[in-house]
C-alpha cells in the first residue's frame, strides 16, 4: 500500500472546514432561516399595519411565548426519545384543577395552583413510568392519557358546576401571593415612564386614559424565556444534558455505560407536564376562567415547533433554541396573517409550507453533521 502514514497534526483525508461553514452547520439553522424568512415576509407585507408597533409586538410575542413554553418541554422529551401527546389535555386538566379547587371548593388560589402542579407533574411521572416499565411506545401511552385527561376535564366541571367553563378566578386571585407570578406583568413602571415620555402610545380616552397601551411584559413571556434558557442550559452545559442525548440516541448503549436512562425519561415526562401546567396557569390567570376545551391540539403544535427547530423525531438530536425559534415562527405567522389582512385559513397553508421547508433543510444539515446516510 502506498498510502503514507498521516502525521499527528493533520490528516490529508480530513477536509478542513471554513469557520463560516462551521458556524452555519448547526441544528438550529432551519429555525433561523425560517425566522428570517417569516420576519422579512411580514416586514414587507404588514409593516404599516401596527404589527411592529408596541401593541402588535406584544400580541405576537404572547402567542409565541405560549408555544415556547410547551415547546421547551416537548423538545427535551423528544431528544430523550419520547413523545407526549397528552400535553394539550394536560393544559385543560391543569386549568380545571385550579378552577375547581379555588372556585368550587373555595380554597386559596395559591393552594389550587400548587395542587395543579403536584397533580399534573405526578401524571407526567405516571406517563413516564408506564412507558419505561412496559416498553410500549410513548405515542400510545400518552395517547391514552390524551383521552383520559380530556374526559376528566369535561366531567368534573359538568358534575360540580353543571357547565364546562368555570369563571371568577380573577376575582378569587385578587391579593393572592402566587397568582401574580403567572398572571402578572413586570416592568410596568418602565412602560408607564415610556408612555409619559411619549415613546409609546397612551390611551386617549376611556377609564384608562393616560395609561400606556402596553402596560408591561406579561409573566407568560418571562416564563417562556426562563424555560428556554433553563432548557438550553440543561441540555448543553450539564451532565444531565448529556444523559438526555444519550437516552434518546441509543438507550441500550447509554445503559451499558451506566446512564440512568429510565430516570432521565421519567424526569423529562415530568418536565413536560410542568411546562403544560405553567401554560395552563398563565392562561387561567389571564382569562380569569378555565374551560374544558382549553389546550386542544397543543401537543401537535408543540411537536411541530420542535421539529421546525431541528430536532429528530426519533430522538437523540435537537436544540432548545431551535424549538424556541420554531415557536416564534408559529406565533408570528398565526398573528401576522391577521395583521396582513390575509384569510386566517391560509395560516395552515403557510405553516405547512414552512414545516416542510424547515424539515427538508434540517434533514440535510443533520446528515452533514452526523454522517447519516
Amino acid at each position: 500500500m502506498s498510502e503514507s502514514i498521516p502525521s499527528n497534526d493533520s490528516d490529508e483525508r480530513i477536509k478542513s472546514m471554513s469557520t463560516w461553514r462551521k458556524a452555519l452547520i448547526r441544528p438550529e439553522l432551519g429555525g433561523i432561516c425560517g425566522t428570517l424568512l417569516v420576519f422579512t415576509f411580514f416586514l414587507l407585507t404588514a409593516f404599516d399595519s401596527g404589527m411592529f408597533g408596541p401593541a402588535g409586538v406584544l400580541n405576537w410575542s404572547v402567542v409565541s411565548a405560549q408555544f415556547m413554553i410547551i415547546a421547551v418541554g416537548a423538545c427535551l422529551l423528544m431528544i430523550a426519545g419520547e413523545f407526549d401527546l397528552s400535553v394539550g389535555s394536560m393544559i385543560g386538566f391543569a386549568g380545571m384543577i385550579i378552577a375547581i379547587f379555588s372556585i368550587t371548593l373555595g380554597w386559596p388560589v395559591w393552594l389550587a395552583i400548587i395542587l395543579a402542579f403536584v397533580i399534573c407533574v405526578s401524571c407526567g411521572a405516571l406517563n413516564g413510568f408506564i412507558v419505561v416499565r412496559t416498553g410500549l411506545p410513548s405515542f400510545i401511552v400518552t395517547l391514552a392519557f390524551l383521552f383520559i385527561l380530556r374526559g376528566f376535564t369535561i366531567f368534573f366541571p359538568q358534575t360540580f358546576e353543571r357547565k364546562t367553563i368555570i369563571g371568577g378566578i380573577r376575582d378569587a386571585a385578587e391579593g393572592d401571593w402566587l397568582a401574580p407570578f403567572f398572571g402578572g406583568k413586570i416592568l410596568t413602571g418602565f412602560f408607564q415612564w415610556l408612555g409619559e415620555a411619549g415613546l409609546i402610545e397612551v390611551f386617549v380616552r376611556g377609564s384608562r386614559k393616560g395609561q400606556p397601551i402596553v402596560e408591561g411584559v406579561p409573566m407568560l413571556i418571562v416564563w417562556a424565556l426562563a424555560l428556554v434558557i433553563f432548557g438550553h442550559f440543561l441540555l448543553t452545559r450539564t451532565r444531565f444534558g448529556n444523559w438526555i442525548f444519550a437516552a434518546g440516541g441509543d438507550a441500550q448503549a447509554a445503559r451499558y455505560v451506566g446512564v440512568p436512562v429510565n430516570r432521565v425519561k421519567i424526569l423529562m415526562f415530568m418536565f413536560t407536564a410542568f411546562c403544560a401546567t405553567v401554560f395552563a396557569t398563565c392562561q387561567v390567570m389571564e382569562f380569569g376562567s378555565a374551560g374544558a376545551d382549553r389546550g386542544l391540539l397543543k401537543e401537535f403544535e408543540a411537536i411541530i415547533a420542535v421539529v421546525i427547530g431541528g430536532a429528530l423525531l426519533t430522538g437523540g438530536y435537537g436544540s432548545v433554541i431551535g424549538a424556541a425559534l420554531g415557536a416564534l415562527i408559529f406565533g408570528v405567522v398565526q398573528q401576522g396573517l391577521f395583521f396582513a389582512g390575509v384569510e386566517s385559513s391560509l395560516f395552515r397553508v403557510f405553516l405547512g409550507l414552512i414545516l416542510l421547508m424547515a424539515v427538508i433543510l434540517n434533514t440535510y444539515i443533520r446528515r452533514l453533521i452526523t454522517g447519516e446516510r
Binding site: R239, F245, T370, G371
Partner: protein, 259 residues
Amino acid sequence: MSDPIIKMVDIEKHFGSVIALAGVSFDVNAGECHCLLGDNGAGKSTFIKTMSGVHEPSAGQIFFEGNPMHFADPRDAITAGIATVYQDLAMIPLMSVSRNFFMGNEPIRKFMGLPLYDHEYAERVTLEKMRSMGINLRGADQAVGTLSGGERQTVAIARAVHFGAKVLILDEPTSALGVRQTANVLATVDKVRKSGIAVVFITHNVRHALAVGDRFTVLNRGKTLGTAKRGEISPEELQDLMAGGMEMATLEGSLGGTV
C-alpha cells in the same frame, strides 16, 4: 505469572429450560490477551455478559483479584474495573466524539456553585486519547456517525482504558470491519495489552485471534473445549475446534489434555 485478575469457575447459566452455559471455566491475567472463540450460538455472548454483570450466573463462582464477586448489574462491574465494548452498541452516532467518550462519566466543573459539564476538558482529553490511539479527529465535536466502524471501536476502547479498566472485554470488535480497519483495531488491542490491562477478546475469526492472542479458549454448545497457549495450536486446529469438535480425539493431545 501472578494470579489471574479475573477467574471464573464452572459458570452455568440457564434461561428457563435452555442451558446456555454448562460449566465454563476461564481466567485472564493482567497484560494478557485471552481470546474466546466459538461459533454462533456457542454461548460467547452469554458468557461475557455474566462477566460484565449483565447476567447473574445460575451456578459457579467469579473471583476478581482473588476475591469472590457478585455483580448485581453492569454498573458494579464497571466500578470494579471491568469494561465491555459491545460490537454494535459501543457508541451513539448522533452524539459528538467527546460527548460519547465521557457518556456516563461526565467531567464536572463548578461555575458559581453550579455543576457544569466541562466541555473544554472533555474535548482536550478526547483529542489527546484519540491521537495516542492513532486517530486524528477534525474536532472533538465531530459526530461519531462520521467515523468508520473501526474508529468507533477505537473510541470505545480508548474510553474504557481512560476510565481505568483493568479488564477489557471486546465483543467481536473486528467482525464487521474491513481489512485495514481490522488491523487498526488489532494494533489498538496490542497497545492496550502492553499497558498492563487484561483483554478478553471475543471473536469467531481464527486469524484475528492468532494475531493478538496469548491464550485461546474455545467454547462450543455452552462448554469449554479447552485452552491453548500461543504457539501450541495451529490455525487449522482452532478452526476445527470451533466448527464443532470434529476430530476431537486427535486434537485433545495438542491441547495439552485440558479438554
